[in-house]
């Protein structure tokens, strides 16, 4: 008896990976991997279907958790100590500025990728039956991502942080009835001060990451339980596409043909309950279009992970995360800008705080959530959903334009300026 082999086998119980059984067991005997199916459709591994944006978003989240925990070892959420700690991280702590850069750039990247992922899901019509609810979970994940960015923005306690959060939380107080109260709860006071910093810290490092983790798990679980990824749109045949998406519809309890149970077989639950599965099942002729997740899917995900991490590291080597002067409640920098992804909002707010800061964003979020329930067109083929695509594209373009205007065309006093003013610093 070989104790080493014995130990190995006590940890890894699967058959050798050279066998099909081993390949499947690698997936479903492993707590981390078993969210994958043992086999996946080849077409779903194609980059041009998903661009791996969901994965990249998730990997950026992992980078954020890792670098964030590292930063916590040197950061105290107390004013003005917090700013001092940022300076220390920047100039004193070994690898401190690199970690800070990584955390900052990965956060920006995550906002971009989660948005692009949402666009991909929309344009491929992947929010349609049976995936409606996973889209809703996705919208909540999107809001959590913004919430994490927003709470993180205050922590350096510099001018940028202080004024972005002052303006941001004041927008909230325009909400009728509850607005002022919510702001007071969020800040633990009436102005952005020490209690606000502590509250934002707790939200940023505990409450929101935990919610994000839990919901991400639900999101992945639902992808799997909704039948894996949707079929790439180019695979949808004209006649078949409507029929493919109606599969989730409740069926008039058609009894399945009862096959006499055999005594020398064990049965899984799905083999004894009656009723149709809610998702697209793989038929026999499609079976040959599938490959084992190991190594094909894992390899591609591994590449996505590698590309994500190296990109963040490379960017962090060359570009520094900004850190301005210590927060000064008496002096508002001119112009005082929110983080870029809120500049569209700030642009709206500069016209009307109630309409632009509360009503329009609330309606936009509600509309996003409602998309899968409003859009009753069963077809996922782009040719069949021209109006949906136009409407969503309009939404995306308006967002992007507002952000560009807010970022590049607004100068001191929020006046319109040509973009080169920001580059040359001329006025």
């Amino acid at each position: 008896m070989n104790p080493l082999r014995d130990a190995w086998q006590s940890i890894v119980r699967r058959d050798p990976l050279s066998t099909d059984k081993g390949k499947s067991e690698l997936v479903f005997l492993n707590v981390w991997l078993h969210i994958h199916p043992a086999k996946v459709k080849k077409e779903n591994l194609k980059v041009k279907h998903t661009f791996y944006l969901g994965f990249i978003t998730f990997f950026l989240f992992l980078v954020l958790v890792t670098s964030g925990v590292a930063l916590m070892f040197y950061y105290r959420p107390d004013a003005p100590q917090a700013y001092q700690d940022m300076k220390d991280l920047q100039f004193v702590v070994y690898l401190g500025s690199f970690l800070r850069n990584m955390h900052r750039w990965a956060a920006h990247g995550m906002v971009i990728c989660v948005f692009l992922h949402m666009c991909r899901v929309f344009y491929t019509g992947s929010y349609k039956r049976p995936r409606q609810f996973n889209w809703v979970i996705g919208v909540v994940l999107f809001l959590l991502t913004l919430g994490l960015s927003f709470t993180g923005y205050l922590l350096p306690w510099d001018q940028l942080a202080f004024w972005a959060i002052t303006v941001g939380t004041n927008i909230g107080s325009y909400a009728p009835l509850v607005g002022a109260r919510i702001r007071e709860l969020l800040l633990g006071g009436h102005t952005v001060g020490e209690s606000a910093l502590l509250r934002f810290y707790v939200l940023h490092v505990a409450v929101l990451p935990v919610l994000m983790t839990l919901l991400t798990m639900v999101h992945f679980w639902r992808v799997r339980k909704d039948g894996g990824l949707s079929r790439p749109v180019w695979k949808l045949k004209e006649e078949k596409s409507a029929q493919l998406v109606t599969i989730g519809a409740p069926v008039a309890s058609a009894a399945l043909a009862a096959v006499p149970a055999s005594k020398d077989k064990t049965y899984g639950l799905m083999e004894v309950v009656t009723g149709k599965p809610i998702f697209e099942t793989v038929s026999m002729e499609e079976e040959e279009d599938t490959v084992f997740s190991y190594p094909y899917a894992f390899f591609r995900e591994g590449i996505a992970l590698l590309v994500t991490v190296t990109t963040v590291m490379a960017v962090s080597l060359f570009w520094k995360a900004p850190l301005e002067e210590l927060a000064n409640p008496a002096k508002t920098p001119n112009p005082a800008k929110a983080p870029w992804y809120f500049l569209g909002l700030q642009e709206l707010v500069s016209h009307s705080a109630l309409l632009g800061g509360v009503i329009v964003p609330t309606l936009a979020v509600l509309a996003l959530i409602a998309i899968p329930y409003i859009d009753s067109n069963p077809s996922r083929r782009p040719a069949d959903r021209k109006w949906a695509i136009r409407a969503f594209t309009l939404f995306v373009v308006v967002n992007v334009v507002l952000i560009i205007v807010g970022t590049f065309f607004r100068g001191p006093g929020w006046a319109m300026v040509p973009p080169w003013v920001h580059i040359t610093g001329a006025e």
Binding site: W163, T166, V167, N170, I171, E184, L185, G188, G189, H190, T191, G193, E194, S195, P329, A330, K331, T332, P333, N334, P335, A336, Q346, V349, S350, H351, S352, A353, L354, P412, G413, W414, A415
Partner: protein, 153 residues
């Protein structure tokens, strides 16, 4: 168990559960509301009348107020916090108005909105003479823009 009693026990249980949840939620909200705000006092002294010059207003950074002094009309104190989203406005002698750096609101010297997204005029605070002869500002008491404290010197 009889059907009737099952239903009524069930209802009672449901009511108990809902009340427990609402009470807990209320407690959470109350817990998150500070019982004491460790914030600067709303009423404070800003110095002797003689400390303030005539002409352009004096900006007190920590208190975020402008102190106006006029030879005939006396003292008035304006809030430097923009009524739009809380940025600190600046006073420009050139056009005798307040400008907000955040979204470009402009207020006339009497605090009324000239243009921009600010929904309300700047606030004016009550200023009185304390017993020791110092000026005292009360941020909890807003007054009309015409309010003046005349100090005979």
């Amino acid at each position: 168990m009889k059907r009737r009693s099952f239903v009524s026990w069930g209802t009672a249980g449901l009511v108990a559960l809902c009340s427990a949840i609402s009470v807990s939620l209320g407690a959470v909200v109350r817990f998150l509301t500070p019982s004491v705000f460790y914030e600067p006092p709303q009423t404070f002294k800003i110095g002797n009348p003689a400390d303030f010059s005539y002409g352009p207003p004096t900006f007190l950074a920590d208190e975020k107020i402008f102190v106006f002094r006029d030879p005939e009309k006396g003292f008035a104190v304006a809030n430097a916090v923009c009524t739009h989203l809380g940025c600190t406005v600046g006073y420009f002698q050139s056009d005798e108005s307040f400008h907000c750096p955040c979204h470009g609101s402009v207020f006339k010297a009497d605090g009324t909105v000239q243009h921009g997204p600010a929904p309300r005029p700047l606030e004016w605070f009550e200023v009185t003479l304390a017993r020791d002869g110092q000026l005292r500002v009360d941020k909890d008491h807003t007054v009309p823009a015409s309010y003046r404290l005349v100090v005979s010197s």
